[in-house]
Symmetry: C2
Subunit: 363 residues, 2 copies
């Protein structure tokens, strides 16, 4: 079954008359269009039966027709007309009034929702995030090949960047070196590369600063590349010379948590079991409260997508599902460690797409 | 008045009890936080009186406290807890149940809306886009200084890129040269740089391809830089050697439309009058249907923000408001022209922040 056929069968399974998709990862997955959510309404509607429809700005229509492989009915609108009539025509032709319509709560914006509600009186809107998650989580062989290439690029460029690490270099400089190496490989960063050094490494969401790397620092390096629209995401933590014993010991604890998380991956396992496996190691080591975030997130077209590797997520993992395992320990004023791998669920367990060495690299 | 005080007075003027702001340009404007809308609920609530409040992931709290200059009450939530209790506590403390709450329809997503609705029973949600537009459209002296710097960077890098244009170079290569020049100047592209050559220039939203530049091409070059969080956005169209007479004539017509648009800018003028001034020139020249988009868009923290320079926008322009004027003509199979400037409304009329020469450059 192709993607559209799989969507249709998911609609039947969830009792939905149609789904409406806006710019984002699911749009890319279903149509091939890489759109950013602008201020102009652009929504693709996939009914449970019959031809899908696309309401979009007229100036996007030629590109959409060139890229979208599906037969689709187009409802273009111009800036002069506005989108109201196009939305209404689409809703009428697809019988959306009173229909049960799934949308992605995490990507549709309120003006798009209100536009649909106005065009399709008494439409029943429901959250179709699980429908799209079920479609997108398990990757095809082609998707996995793209992700492996994205991993290869990020690992090669990480190696090149680590080879250039020097005391006195700023976080911003080191980040730019890594980014440039990804670009030189024909790729681009899949998100803002994080270089968090010394005390800055205590903040999991640090923004690269002009702080200069110093002897005794741990430096968290977190980056990803893009290949054919698919992302990789890796974190390694390196040391500049001798580090204090507590930093060494949280490094080893984080590494053990990473290993335990990876070992817990099997088809049918719930994400929360992987979270518990990784978190349990850190808690047992006495640093539970310093593991400030979830163990991981799904990875693919988007850098963060289902499944989330978190307590409470009991949806069994299926073969082909891809996600990160990235335990970390963060000590205010002192530093931090994170070790992140990209995992795919296989028949045998979890295969790590990332194979960069995990033992502490000391510069 | 500072930004928060101006917001409060706008709330009173619009009869709103509070506004709720999510990741995006308005969040940056009001708090200084440069956030991307992830899957974790993060919402700042500004009541008409009393201290504002911020519901956010616990791991974002330290950074928010470090950056936000306002006294603010924080409602952090962890991945293990989820956001429901934090949202409910915030809604209770601020009395949001039954309140008239403004949100930005163009940036808030449905899961954020539903989270607020669940936390604040019978809250009355309204679109506060005009409130935020009124706040953000007219720039302060500091904001204009940042935009002037962003213009300087994009113009210097455009000049450097044009100096390297050669027949046989691909669109992707030329785009990377321009991007690299922006980065070398300590900036970064504010959006995906567009290089549209030959027949590709007939598509206003072209994605750079591996097409090689050829003799006789018009090449549309559309790019912007970022300086201290503020964007520039310029388009120039250059020729590779001799071009056919029709391309030369649409160049001159587009240039005349650009001039007419700029000349129409005065305090108190409606954006639609500027659109008509520019569009009228192109229509009179017989290419009205080939000017495929609006005449311009607001520019500042975001690359597209109010005011939109479009028929139907009658909100009079005030001094300090910044926007683009970018007429274009697009001929299928042949090529296209766009000439874009960044304008600020002054007492005397419209000042173009972009001063790069507008006459056709022939390589």
């Amino acid at each position: 079954m192709n993607r559209h056929e799989r969507l249709i069968s998911e609609l039947a399974r969830h009792g939905l008359d149609a789904v409406a998709v806006v710019a984002g990862g699911t749009m890319r997955y279903l149509t091939g269009l890489d759109l950013h959510g602008g201020m102009r309404i652009m929504v693709a509607v996939f009914p449970a039966s019959g031809e899908p429809a696309f309401v979009l700005p007229a100036l996007e229509e030629p590109r959409a027709r060139a890229i979208i492989p599906l037969p689709m009915r187009y409802y273009p609108w111009t800036d002069a007309e506005g989108p109201t009539a196009a939305l209404a025509a689409c809703a009428r032709d697809l019988g959306l009034a009173g229909a049960r319509l799934g949308i992605e709560y995490t990507s549709m914006r309120v003006f798009e929702l209100r536009g649909i509600e106005a065009a399709a009186p008494s439409v029943e809107i429901t959250d179709a995030t699980p429908v799209f998650a079920a479609l997108r989580m398990a990757k095809s062989a082609d998707e996995l090949a793209s992700m492996r290439a994205a991993v290869q690029i990020v690992e090669g460029s990480l190696r090149a960047a680590i080879a250039q690490v020097r005391v006195g270099m700023t976080e911003i400089e080191l980040g730019e070196i890594w980014d440039a190496a990804m670009r030189a490989a024909g790729s681009a960063p899949s998100f803002s590369t994080i270089i968090a050094s010394g005390p800055n490494a205590a903040n999991p969401h640090h923004t690269n600063s002009s702080r200069q790397l110093q002897q005794g620092d741990l430096v968290i390096m977190d980056g990803g590349a893009i290949y054919e629209g698919y992302a990789s995401d890796i974190t390694r933590t390196i040391a500049l010379g001798e580090i204090v014993p507590e930093l060494r010991s949280i490094y080893e604890l984080t590494l053990a948590a990473n290993k335990a998380g990876r070992a817990a991956v099997h088809p049918g396992v719930a994400p929360e079991q992987i979270d518990r496996a990784a978190r349990g190691v850190i808690s047992a080591g006495g640093y539970g409260p310093r593991f400030l975030h979830r163990t991981g997130h799904g990875l693919g077209i988007e850098i963060h997508e289902p499944p989330y590797i978190i307590e409470g997520n009991r949806e069994p993992l299926t073969i082909g599902t891809t996600f990160t395992i990235e335990p970390g320990i963060y000590l205010d004023g002192l530093g931090g460690v994170r070790i992140e791998d990209d995992i795919v669920v296989t028949e045998q367990g979890g295969e790590s797409l990332t194979t960069f060495e995990r033992e502490l690299i000391v510069i």
